[in-house]
Each structure stands twice: as structure tokens, then as C-alpha cells.
Symmetry: C2
Subunit: 248 residues, 2 copies
């Protein structure tokens, strides 16, 4: 699956750009090879670029052009395409903690969720191939470089993947506003998949039906709903808390 | 305190701009008066603008100019200045749950924290006057309009405010990466102030010393730290969980 996806961009050059201090720093010690770097002024200061990687000093305008964004903090690098993993492999771990995103299309939210997932020690993140965001430079930036260490998988059909996960012993918890069961109720100690929908639209019906349980966070204020990345952080750390309490 | 702050902008007109569908919608049912609206095309569709508020249709370019940002989703309104509250008043509630931010300067993070605080039913958010962000249009947007309902206070000196809060019976918990005590340990049932520092820099020494306890979230991945707004969401919902369990 990941192979098919990656081949998308390998016509001219199977390469991507990563920009920003944290993303570049994490790329340099992350899961894909860094091919070369460009920095402006003191952009590379404090960043450990291995001697075998070509580091070129360029003008701010050139950096903007290479990064395709002014958001580069004076450092940009070229990396191999993001190495998506096979979603099924994420289920091998008996204690797998997986975040599945249904149509989350905002790079900021996707990046923020990846950052929380990596910090919470999640096994990986699963997103549908269509109507989702790829791991772009903007996503890496929003994740503070967390994606450079995180296992991320594409699946053709999220509901089918959740059915597979259930067959393999995972419990599937979908976040849905107003669901009667609190997110604090599940045990989370076995293989767990947390399913989060897009803001506004929530979970699609087939994805919703593929969940063992729909859970909600209390919303006590006057606005509709918590941000999807805040919801993800709260649920990930709740799962972690349950696991720590059950082992210690 | 809020009076002094608000007077900053009342020379020409004591007014601010709010833009974006959620922010404008929340402003229209929020704590400050909406003076007029501008919309482009179907920008005002589904938004309940009271008949007494002047609604003008303008071009996209004009909207960009009025909003001072292209991020307006075809609807902009003019509102009264943000009505900061007195920080001491937030402590009146015996069950107060307050978020205090030490030098959080990023509008995205500030807005996201306000959104989570409003959703978690927090009493309010306290920020120092200097080296913090004001409640700007960008903050309102990042909060999905939550700031329009949330009590936000400025204080001259955050450490002094925390000392006052402690004198009035509040427990002060500072988030610090690597602190020995887990954020799940405190009871959170009395008046509580959660103190969060800027990303990268953490809490300033005097603010740190004003805390009763420093607590941390586990960080299990390879990157340094959780985003400050994710930390805020996790801690707010942890406080809520403790309170729900102790009452029910």
C-alpha cells in the first residue's frame, strides 16, 4: 500500500522538501535520508548537519523559493519521500495504540495530532488515501518534526481497516460529540484504535459503524466542540494513564 | 487592570475586528457588542445577524483590507474592544479552574488554549500584560470564536497573581517537562490554577517558584515536548475528570 502511494512522486525525483528548525533537526535524525540542506545566515546554527550532507548558503528569496513557503526559519532540506508504512503492521504489537483519522484535511491539525501521537508513544497514525492530507512540509512543520519519527500508514478504506483491526483483537473507539459513554470509561489496555473525524463533519457512517464504542469528551462551554487535535491529545493521554495504572 | 489595558486603543475608536465564520457567529452571541458586519458573496449565509446590525456586502479585496488578513472566510465584523476581566474576580468561585499562561506569544497556541479552556468549562485564562498576546482577530479565529465567551484577564505580574491565588486557597500546578510528579497525581478539586509556559522556554524562575507543585506529562517519543496547547487540553480534562469522579 505504501509502495503504491510513494510511487506517485518518483517520476522526476522521489524527493520532498522539509523546512523549519525543528523539522530539519528531526529529519536529520529521523527515518528518511536527508539529501541536502540550504540555509540562510545563521539558519543552520545549532543544527547538526552531518559532513556528508551538502549544506549550501543561499539568499532569503532563494529559501522562500525552495521551501515554497516563507515559513522556513532560514533552513530547508531535501529528503526522500515520506516512507509510509503498511497499516496492518501497526497491529502486530499487542499493546498497539493507533490513531485513525477520518478525513482530517487540515495540515495544522494533522501535524498537531502526529506530534501528540509521537509524544504519547503511539504505535502509529492511519489515514485514508483519499480526502486526507499527505505528510507535506507544512505537516512536518506543524508536527515540530514529529512525523520524522512516527509510523504513518495510508489505507484505501478506513472502515475495512477498522474491521481488520477488530479481527486482530483491537478495540476501536470513535470520538463522537454527545456520545453517551465518556472517553474515560474504556480500559484501553489491549490493542486500541482511536478514531477521530474531521471537524464539523465528524465520522462517516461506515467508519462510525466500524467502531466498538463511540465515546465523547464533556463539552461544558458555549461553543460546539473541542478542536480535533485537542481531542486526540486528551484521548491519547487518557489511554496512557489507563495503561500506566494497570501496569503499575 | 482591564480598564487600563483597554484604554490603549480608544483614541480613534475603541473597536476591533473579528473575522471568520465561527468567530463572527460567536461574537454575535458573545460578551461584546457587534457594531457592524461586512460579507462577501454568501459569506453571511447561515449566520444570524440581528436586523439592528448593519450588514454590508463588499468585494473580496475590500474584505481582505478590512480584515487585514485573507483568512476571513468572507465575513468580518467590527466589535467593541475585548472586555478583559479582573483576574482577582476569577478566584471568587470556590471551584475555580484557571489557566495562567507565562509568555505564550503565539496567537495559534493562545487561541487553541482558549478554545480548550472554554470547552472544559474553565473559569478563565490569565496572561501577563507584557510579552503575551492580546485577544486579536487571529486569536479569536484560532479559538474558533471561544474567546467571545471566555473570561480573560491581564495581570501586571504573574508570580504576584499566583501568590494572591494561593492566599485565596487555590492550588497552583505548573507544567514542567521532566517534573517528577505526574499531572495525574493532584486532586484538582479545590480552586486550581494550571500554569503553562512558552514553548521552548518553559516557566520563568519566579513563576516556577510561585507554583505549589510542578507536574509533567509523560513524553515517550523521540521529540522534546508536547505542544503547549495539547498540554493545556490534557491537563484541563484531567482536572475535569478528577472533579467528576469526586462528585459522582
Amino acid at each position: 500500500m505504501s509502495g503504491g502511494r510513494s510511487s506517485r512522486g518518483d517520476s522526476a525525483s522521489a524527493r520532498q522538501i522539509v523546512y523549519g528548525r525543528n523539522p530539519v533537526r528531526e529529519a536529520l535524525r529521523g527515518q528518511r535520508r536527508v539529501l541536502r540542506c540550504w540555509a540562510g545566515g545563521s539558519g543552520a546554527e545549532g543544527i547538526d548537519v552531518a559532513p556528508e550532507i551538502q549544506l549550501q548558503t543561499v539568499s532569503p528569496e532563494e529559501l522562500d523559493r525552495i521551501a515554497g513557503s516563507p515559513d522556513h526559519q532560514s533552513i530547508v532540506c531535501e529528503v526522500e519521500l515520506f516512507p509510509y508504512v503498511d497499516a496492518s503492521d501497526l497491529l502486530d504489537d499487542e499493546q498497539a495504540l493507533i490513531v485513525a483519522l477520518d478525513q482530517v484535511q487540515d495540515p495544522q491539525n494533522f501535524g498537531a495530532i502526529c506530534r501528540s501521537a509521537e509524544c504519547a508513544g503511539a504505535t502509529g497514525v492511519v489515514v485514508p488515501e483519499r480526502r486526507s492530507v499527505d505528510v507535506t512540509a507544512a505537516v512536518s512543520k506543524a508536527s515540530a518534526g514529529a512525523v520524522e519519527h512516527l509510523r504513518i500508514a495510508h489505507v484505501r478504506n478506513l472502515a475495512d481497516y477498522l474491521a481488520e483491526a477488530r479481527d486482530r483483537g483491537a478495540w476501536i473507539y470513535g470520538a463522537e460529540q454527545g456520545a453517551a459513554i465518556s472517553y474515560t470509561q474504556p480500559d484501553y489496555s489491549d490493542r486500541t484504535v482511536l478514531v477521530l473525524g474531521s471537524e464539523g463533519k465528524g465520522l462517516r457512517p461506515r467508519v462510525r459503524e466500524a467502531c466498538d464504542q463511540l465515546v465523547s469528551l464533556p463539552v461544558l462551554g458555549r461553543i460546539d466542540s473541542l478542536n480535533v487535535s485537542a481531542t486526540a491529545a486528551v484521548m491519547l493521554y487518557e489511554a496512557l494513564r489507563h495503561r500506566n495504572e494497570s501496569t503499575g
